[in-house]
Every structure is written in structure tokens, then in C-alpha cells.
């Protein structure tokens, strides 16, 4: 079995060829920001030169295309139609200039309390057309509880715009402002993302590759590339997720652990609970947009090997900005990497230049260059270690809502620290000392991201709400609202959730053997009106959790 994994990062594009779960070849090229395909072409050139494309079974890509489009504002204008009802003031919900708030309201139980103004929707559609707005997002409060109004609006507006994203399709989680942001971003990057997908498909075609191609999502899971075009927003922030999945693939232990990816500009921190990377509770945040995009919980801090080091008020300041590579590689300012070179913790770069860059600081602080280097190194490690401790604290203090959970008080206690990234080797030991953890630097750490992409399984989630008083079962993300009998039970809900999730995962490209479904939420409430039980409110959430393709372990 041969797998090709590619990670198109901001600086480098990495690729690995994996045969029988061993890295057979790896390649790294500089990313050409203006032409990602060029980078893809170059990096695969080398790897596939002597390969028979027929032997390839799987290609997985992780790409920054979505993230970059948002960062650089290379997005399309999106007309927003919002059914906000009572609650937060529209002024707090306005995401862009093209927001239209219309009448209508669905309540927390999915009951339609007020209808939409169809004529108004038509007028808005005409206005979009007149203004040349091709893209539209429709988002209603509680639309995951009843998607009907979003669907109704879509039907009216369909002829006026080229493409529409519907809020209820994005996630089963409640959070209207995040649903607005997610649906907006999904539509705003759709065009640029679809073009990328088209080009990738062409490229694979030219390389005579005809097997399924997958894209990595923010949750460290994969999705079939064709399927991903409807939900491009799910591919944001997949870069950091790729590295974390890479670490996961290279370690055997299934303990609570910390994973660090120390890069040039930033350090990413992730936490594993019994070997499974933690997910964000609601969704990831990208450039200030809080979303409902399911994603790994990764904290990024502005400290890396190339962080600019300054001397301020008699002390050392590290980062958060990166102004170029380390001085030892011709960069303009001293960096932690230069400090590590001076301390002989690594033998890369030109030591003379590193020393020269630290000299002004040494003079200012009236100490030796070595002492300055030591201070910089210590402070860099301390910054990272303290961010790790903050993150552990935050995770262990997450709010819970049942007595059982409070009394159980399961705290994560990392048993090991995994480190990847450029400065991993010189820094790992000291970080381990500071955090009181043994450290492990996985093999092929420099291409962990590509390996992670290559070996990640397809992930999916599904939330179900059954309300036997109303006699309805709602699966927001699927747009389903179906009738159920009064005797419907929690077991029924779990069974349906699993079936539906299986169907969805298969559609997304999952293999049967990777379908490790787990129940993540399972609650049942008696609904009492007056003094009689009138029904049950059942809430079930199931997922295929982030992990590696099953065959890997066999």
C-alpha cells in the first residue's frame, strides 16, 4: 500500500511517500504563494519519479488555501440573509456590509414562532442581483433545530444568485453568531477553493493518478476532495492539525500527552487525552472569526525559532513577530535559533553571524555573548512551558454541567511531551525539565505534517435532537426533521445517529474499517408540563473521532 501525503504550508510544501506505513521518501520545497500548484507539481515530481502511479492507493492533501484566502482577504462578496428574531441586537451580529435581517423566528425547540416575509426575501434577491452579488449565505437562529425557514428562503432566492450556503448545514452545535461567521466564510472562500480543487484534480490527472484524493480538515480528519467543495470552511487551519496528526502517527503510547510543534514564527500546543487529540468545544477561531468548524484544540503562541529578539529596559523580549530567518542564516535580527547556535545546541547556520547578532545585546546588558544566549534560550523555553501550563489549566477547568462530572473531576496529567519542528532537538530536553515530563522527538519530525495528512482517517460528527412531545427528530446538519412515535427512546436515537453518521462518513470517503463510532453526548430529559410527563427531550451526539486509518495498526 502506497500513500502520498502532501502539506502545503505557508513557508514549505512537504510531501511524503509512505509504503507499508514506513516513510519511503520525503521531499520539501519552498511554497510558491502565488501558485500553489507549482509547489505541488515540484514536490510530487521528485517523489513520484520512479513510482508506478498504479500502486498509489491514497492521496491526502493539507492546504493553506482557505486559511490564506481569509488572511489575505481574497474572498468573495457575500450577501447575508439573517433570521435573527429576538435576542442579541442585530448591531452585534452584522458581519459585513451586506447583511439583511428579515422577520421570522424559530425557538429553542425548533417551533416556528413567526414566519418569514417572502416578498422581502425576493426584494433582497433582486438587490443582490443588481449589486452583482453572486454568493449568498442564509442563517437563522436555531436553524439546527428546524431548518425549514432557511430552506424556504433558499428556494426564493436561488434564481438570483449563483451559490448559496445554508447555516444549518455547517454544524449541529448551537451558536448563532458562530453559525453566521461560519456560513459567511464558507461562501466567501468557495470560489477560490473550488478552483484549487479543480486544478488539483487536473494535476493528478496529468500524473495519471485516478484514485480518490482527500483533503485534511481542521479536526485532523479527511474528506473526499469533491465532497469538500460544499464545505470549504472545514479546511481552514488544517495545517496545524496535520502536524498534530503526524505526531500521533509516530508515537505508540496512548497516554495523556502534550504535543508541541515549534516553528519559525509560532509554537503550536496540542493536548492528547489517552492518545486522542482534544477538539475545540464548539469550533475553531480564525483571524478573529469564531466559527463552528470542528477542529483540534491547538493553542498558538508567538514564539518560535525565528522570533525577533530585542533588548528592552535591560531585559530580553522574544517575539511575537518574525522579521526573517535567524541571523545565522542571513536574517536581519537575532533570534532564539541564533542563541541555540551560540550555545552549540545545534550545528546549523553560521555561528559567527549568530554571535555577531547577539553582541550588541551583550554589550548593552554588560555580559558575555554566551550569557545572553543562555538567557534567550531559557526565556524562550520558559515562555513555551508557561503557555503549556496555562493550556493544561484551562483544559482542566473547563465548565461541566452535571454533578457526576464535577465529582469525578477527571484531570489531564501529561505523561510525555512530544516535540516536532525545526528547533525541536535543541529545545526538547530543557522543555521536558521545565514541565516535569519525559520528552520524545518522533522520527521524520520535519515532515510530520505531511505524514499526518497521509495517515489521517475520515472524521465526522452528527447531532440528534428528539422531542417526543412534538413527535419530531431533527438532524440539523442533514436538514432532516422527521416524525417519531411517542415511545421513541434514547436507544433509538443512538441507533439512528450511528446509522446516519455511518452514511455521512462513507459519503465523505471513509472506509468501513475506520468507522470507530463513539457516543459523545447522550442525555435524556423528562418534559413535564403541569405535573405530568408529556414527553422526552433526547440529545445524542456521535462522532468518528480524529485518529489514524485503521489498517495502520494491523
Amino acid at each position: 500500500m502506497v500513500i502520498l501525503g502532501i502539506d502545503v504550508g505557508g513557508t514549505h510544501t512537504d510531501a511524503v511517500l509512505i509504503e507499508n506505513f514506513r516513510v519511503k521518501k520525503k521531499a520539501k520545497v519552498l511554497t510558491n504563494e502565488r501558485d500553489l500548484l507549482d509547489s505541488l507539481w515540484k514536490v510530487t515530481d521528485d517523489l513520484l519519479k520512479e513510482e508506478n502511479p498504479e500502486r498509489l492507493e491514497r492521496v491526502v492533501l493539507s492546504t493553506t488555501i482557505s486559511t490564506n484566502a481569509i488572511a489575505q482577504g481574497k474572498t468573495d462578496r457575500v450577501g447575508m440573509i439573517l433570521v435573527s428574531g429576538p435576542g442579541l441586537s442585530p448591531s452585534l451580529l452584522r458581519i459585513n456590509e451586506d447583511c439583511h435581517f428579515i422577520s421570522g423566528y424559530v425557538n429553542h425547540r425548533g417551533m416556528e414562532i413567526a414566519g418569514i416575509d417572502r416578498d422581502n426575501v425576493s426584494r433582497i434577491g433582486e438587490r443582490f442581483q443588481r449589486d452583482g452579488i453572486d454568493h449568498c449565505s442564509i442563517v437563522g437562529k436555531f436553524s439546527t433545530r428546524n431548518p425549514h425557514q432557511e430552506i424556504e428562503i433558499h428556494e426564493i432566492i436561488a434564481t438570483h444568485v449563483r451559490h448559496v450556503s445554508l447555516g444549518h448545514r455547517m454544524s449541529g452545535h448551537l451558536n448563532f453568531p458562530r453559525r453566521i461567521a461560519t456560513t459567511f466564510l464558507n461562501e466567501a472562500i468557495r470560489e477560490i477553493y473550488s478552483n484549487f480543487v479543480k486544478q488539483v484534480s487536473n494535476l493528478m490527472h496529468l500524473r495519471n493518478i485516478s484514485i480518490p484524493i482527500y483533503i485534511l480538515k481542521a479536526d485532523g480528519g479527511t474528506i473526499d476532495i469533491a465532497q469538500s467543495c460544499e464545505f470549504p470552511v472545514q479546511t481552514i487551519l488544517s495545517g496545524p492539525a496535520a502536524s498534530i496528526m503526524g505526531i500521533l502517527s509516530m508515537v505508540e503510547r496512548r497516554d495523556d500527552a502534550i504535543a508541541l510543534d515549534i516553528g519559525g514564527t509560532t509554537t503550536d500546543i496540542a493536548v492528547f487525552a489517552e492518545g486522542v487529540p482534544l477538539l475545540e468545544a464548539v469550533g475553531v477561531t480564525i483571524f478573529g472569526h469564531r466559527t463552528l468548524v470542528r477542529g483540534l484544540r491547538i493553542r498558538s503562541i508567538g514564539v518560535g525559532g525565528d522570533s525577533r529578539v530585542r533588548c528592552e529596559d535591560g531585559g530580553i523580549v522574544i517575539g511575537p513577530e518574525r522579521e526573517g530567518p535567524a541571523a545565522a542564516f542571513g536574517g536581519p535580527f537575532p533570534t532564539p535559533t541564533d542563541a541555540m547556535i551560540v550555545l552549540s545546541l545545534t550545528s546549523i547556520g553560521e555561528r559567527g553571524r549568530a554571535k555577531g547578532a547577539l553582541l550588541p545585546i551583550a554589550l548593552k546588558m554588560q555580559c558575555s555573548v554566551e550569557e545572553v544566549a543562555k538567557t534567550i534560550f531559557e526565556q524562550t523555553c520558559e515562555k513555551i512551558a508557561s503557555a503549556v501550563l496555562d493550556e493544561m489549566e484551562a483544559i482542566n477547568n473547563r465548565p461541566v454541567y452535571t454533578i457526576h462530572e464535577i465529582l469525578e473531576d477527571r484531570r489531564l496529567e501529561p505523561k510525555i511531551l512530544y516535540v516536532v519542528g525545526g528547533p525541536a532537538r535543541p529545545m526538547a530536553f530543557r522543555l521536558g525539565e521545565m514541565l516535569g515530563c519525559p520528552v520524545y522527538i518522533p522520527e521524520h519530525a520535519e515532515v510530520a505534517n505531511a505524514i499526518g495528512a497521509a495517515l489521517a482517517r475520515t472524521t465526522a460528527e452528527m447531532a440528534i435532537l428528539a422531542d417526543t412531545e412534538q413527535g419530531t427528530l431533527t438532524i440539523g446538519e442533514e436538514g432532516d426533521r422527521i416524525a417519531i412515535p411517542p415511545r421513541f427512546t434514547r436507544e433509538d436515537a443512538i441507533r439512528i445517529a450511528k446509522e446516519k453518521l455511518r452514511g455521512r462518513a462513507i459519503k465523505m470517503g471513509a472506509k468501513e474499517e475506520d468507522m470507530a463510532i463513539e457516543v459523545t453526548e447522550d442525555q435524556e430529559f423528562n418534559m413535564v408540563r403541569g405535573f405530568y410527563t408529556t414527553g422526552k427531550n433526547i440529545r445524542v451526539r456521535v462522532q468518528v473521532k480524529p485518529g489514524l486509518i485503521a489498517s495502520l495498526r494491523t
Binding site: G87, H108, N175, P177, N397, P399, V400, H404, I406
Partner: protein
């Protein structure tokens, strides 16, 4: 609407696995729709709204406030420790300056729990606000505290606990006790001899709406707070004044609750009752959270909100105006009244029957307070319940004077167990709790 944003702490603990009984109003489902609404409105994503996990209170926190018979573990469950712990967490975050104010959206509630606890009454076992206040006093020094109880039911438990404490102002605004549980909370209940005027009751007629509540706030509560000058203002935030509440008969709205909290600006709000779990709580709580955080709440309203159908009558308006004038006059005369009430008495006694409706227990109680000009005065309680328990308790108040302290210690030492199953000493000043 531009306002100054405030940093608001939120302790949200719906106790999804606890109920008094499966069909009881105080059950698992109670905060389910509130959670849905708070999540869907995205309130936890605001930078100035921070959610904290509740702490767990310990027996000492309860013994600082209550005399639990025979002991705390016999009258509470874990859920009460978390609900009180949630209130304590709210207070800690405010006292440490991590937030400007905080809302403990927790259950089960507590404002019907009195000083002596033989069981549960009005769905309450222990008084979570009082536990929180005494925790604050223990860890952050003596404080003048004002509790504004906006639950529809008279906050009789809180009133009982602070009856003799001149440093704790208890104002309860509620539906008239002649028409609603617990049947108390009239003007004449005005505090013990050493704390006259520190208990204020404002009964309102059924069907009072936003207009009436806000009139009372502006014309009675805020002026009295101005004079009392509390260090801390606490809203004992029941939500059963709502027009859709199934067990009360008032016409307050989500918008009204938001306005009230905006104007009152409590440091800490603690959820009490409120059983319109679908039609009121989701909206009322969103309104309170936004108001506390200084965010625009003008768009918060119930989906079925219709101002015309819930307007109060002119008759009620006139009644409320008269009521406000009367109470404010009464407050002004509190010192004169004290002289008249006490005369030359050295001790003042009151006898009261207490019924624990939730647990079906009856208690007869005699409370004796030493008249004192220097502190809240030593309090003794002789209490017999039809569970067979008879107890005697001596309470030494916070900031007690030497004379009261000496007297209290003497009474505790000299009281034998011949008549009583248990004899307790609760020393609020030194945080000592003894049982024999």
C-alpha cells in the same frame, strides 16, 4: 444603545443529573432551554463574559450560616454543595477583581432555607446566598451587604438568617403573601431589635408588571441603597415574577428583568426560583447576562411578548405608588421605631412555627436576641421539630461586642443536653462551630 461594557463572570451549572423528584418543578430539565438559548445567542463568546466552573462548598461553609439538624450531610445532597459552591465562585471572582460582576446561574436554589434547617422548604435546603456572603466575610473581612431578593416568593429564609444583622440589608420584593407561598413578607417584618430596618419587605399585588417593579426600584430600593451604602449588592434573582410562570401571578418580563439588573447593577446575582422553563427562563437569563455585561439588551423579548395583554391596571399603579411611599416613610422612621419596640427590655423573643413543605416537617422555634447597641446581639434558638429533634443553638454574630461574646459563650457552656438532642455554638466572628 451605547453602554460601558463590564466584565461579567458566569457560573452556569444546570445540574442536568439532579431533581427533587421526576415531575417536580425543580428538576433536570429546568435550565435545559436556558442553556440552549445562552449557547445559541453565543453569549459565552463575548470577550467580557467569562464562564467559570463552579467550586464545591464544604461543610464549614454551611456551618458558618446554618444550624443543620443533626448535621449538614443529613439535610443536603452533593448538588447543594455545588450550587452553593457556584455562588462562592461567583463571589471569589468579583472579590479578586477578575470580573466586575458575576452571575451564578445555578440550581438548586436556596432563599427559603432559614437559619435552622430540619429539612427542605420551598425547594430549598441551604441558603446559597447566605453561604456565599459569610464566605466573603470570612475571607475578605466584614462587609456591608445588601441583598435584593427579586424572586416572586418572599425570601423568608434569607430574612430569617439576617434578621438580627444590622450589616446585612435584606430587601425582598415579591407577590403579596396573602396570595402566595410562603405567606409572609409584610411591612411589619422589619428586622430584629438590633437590626430594625435592615429587613424590608415590599409585597406587590398580583398582576403587577414591569412598570410597577421598576417604580419600586427607582422610588424605594435605589434610594434606600444610597443611604445604606453597601459594599456589595447582591441580586437574589428569582425569575418567577414572569408573566408566564406557572406557579405565580405576576407580569414581569425579560426586558423588565434586564432593566432592573441594569439599574440595580448588582455585584453578584444568584439564580433563585423561576419555573416557566421554556417561555421565560431562556429570555430572562439572556436579558440579565447582557445587562450585567453592559451589552445591548434592547432586542431581548419573549417570542409571545405582547405589552398590551400584560399591562398592569391603573388601580395597581396607584397601589404601587402608595406602597412605595409607605415603605420609604417606614424606613425613615426606623430609629424611632426601635426605641418604641425595645423600651427597657434586655432580651427580645419571637416564637414562630415553621413548615417544611418540601419535606413535610413542622418546627416550633423560639428565638431570643440580646438587645445590644454595639453589635447584632447574641441570639439563641430553641427549636423542636416533629422529626423528634429538639435543639438549642447559640449564635455569636460577626463583629460581636465583648459583652455579647461573653454571654454567648456562657450560655453555650451552661446549656446541658437534658432537654436537647443537640446543642450548637455558631461563632460567626471567629468561624467556630461546636456541637454537643
Amino acid at each position: 444603545m451605547l453602554k460601558k461594557e463590564r466584565k461579567t463572570g458566569l457560573i452556569f451549572f444546570p445540574a442536568f443529573d439532579w431533581a427533587i423528584s421526576p415531575t417536580h418543578p425543580e428538576r433536570e430539565e429546568r435550565l435545559l432551554y436556558t442553556q440552549d438559548q445562552v449557547f445559541e445567542e453565543g453569549l459565552l463568546d463575548f470577550d467580557n463574559i467569562i464562564e467559570f466552573k463552579p467550586g464545591v462548598a464544604v461543610d464549614d461553609d454551611i456551618n458558618r450560616v446554618h444550624i443543620c439538624v443533626p448535621d449538614t450531610r443529613s439535610v443536603i445532597t452533593e448538588s447543594h454543595l455545588i450550587s452553593a459552591g457556584g455562588a462562592i465562585t461567583a463571589a471569589e471572582k468579583v472579590m479578586k477583581g477578575e470580573v466586575d460582576n458575576a452571575f451564578a446561574l445555578v440550581r438548586p436554589p436556596g432563599h427559603h432555607a432559614m437559619l435552622v434547617v430540619h429539612g427542605a422548604r420551598g425547594f430549598c435546603n441551604v441558603n446559597i446566598e447566605a453561604i456565599m456572603i459569610e464566605y466573603i466575610r470570612k475571607h475578605y473581612g466584614p462587609q456591608r451587604v445588601a441583598i435584593i431578593d427579586t424572586d416572586c416568593h418572599h425570601g423568608d429564609g434569607t430574612q430569617d438568617i439576617y434578621w438580627n444583622d444590622p450589616n446585612t440589608l435584606c430587601i425582598s420584593i415579591h407577590q403579596d403573601g396573602t396570595t402566595l407561598y410562603p405567606g409572609t413578607g409584610f411591612h411589619r417584618e422589619f428586622g430584629g431589635p438590633n437590626a430594625l430596618g435592615a429587613t424590608i419587605n415590599i409585597p406587590l399585588p398580583p398582576r403587577t408588571s414591569d412598570e410597577g417593579f421598576l417604580y419600586i426600584l427607582d422610588h424605594v430600593i435605589l434610594p434606600i441603597l444610597d443611604e445604606f451604602k453597601p459594599d456589595l449588592v447582591i441580586n437574589s434573582a428569582g425569575q418567577d415574577n414572569h408573566y408566564s410562570d406557572p406557579i405565580t401571578d405576576m407580569r414581569f418580563t425579560a426586558q423588565g428583568y434586564a432593566l432592573l439588573n441594569d439599574r440595580l447593577s448588582p455585584h453578584i446575582a444568584v439564580l433563585e426560583g423561576g419555573y416557566s422553563i421554556e417561555k421565560a427562563l431562556p429570555y430572562v437569563n439572556v436579558g440579565i447576562i447582557l445587562a450585567m455585561a453592559g451589552l445591548d439588551y434592547s432586542n431581548v423579548r419573549e417570542p409571545d411578548y405582547d405589552p398590551l395583554t400584560i399591562r398592569q391596571s391603573d388601580e395597581i399603579s396607584r397601589y404601587v405608588e402608595k406602597e412605595a411611599a409607605e415603605i420609604y416613610t417606614l424606613w425613615g422612621k426606623r430609629d424611632l421605631m426601635r426605641e418604641k419596640l425595645i423600651g427597657n427590655a434586655e432580651y427580645v423573643r419571637r416564637k414562630k412555627p415553621i413548615y417544611y413543605d418540601t419535606d413535610g416537617i413542622s418546627e416550633q422555634q423560639e428565638e431570643t436576641v440580646r438587645v445590644c447597641n454595639d453589635c447584632g446581639g447574641i441570639v439563641t434558638i430553641d427549636s423542636a421539630a416533629d422529626t423528634g429533634n429538639r435543639i438549642f443553638a447559640v449564635i455569636i454574630p460577626g463583629q460581636s461586642c465583648p459583652a455579647c461574646r461573653a454571654k454567648g459563650e456562657e450560655i453555650y457552656t451552661s446549656t446541658g443536653k437534658d432537654k436537647y438532642n443537640y446543642v450548637y455554638l455558631q461563632d460567626r466572628e471567629r468561624d467556630i462551630f461546636l456541637v454537643k
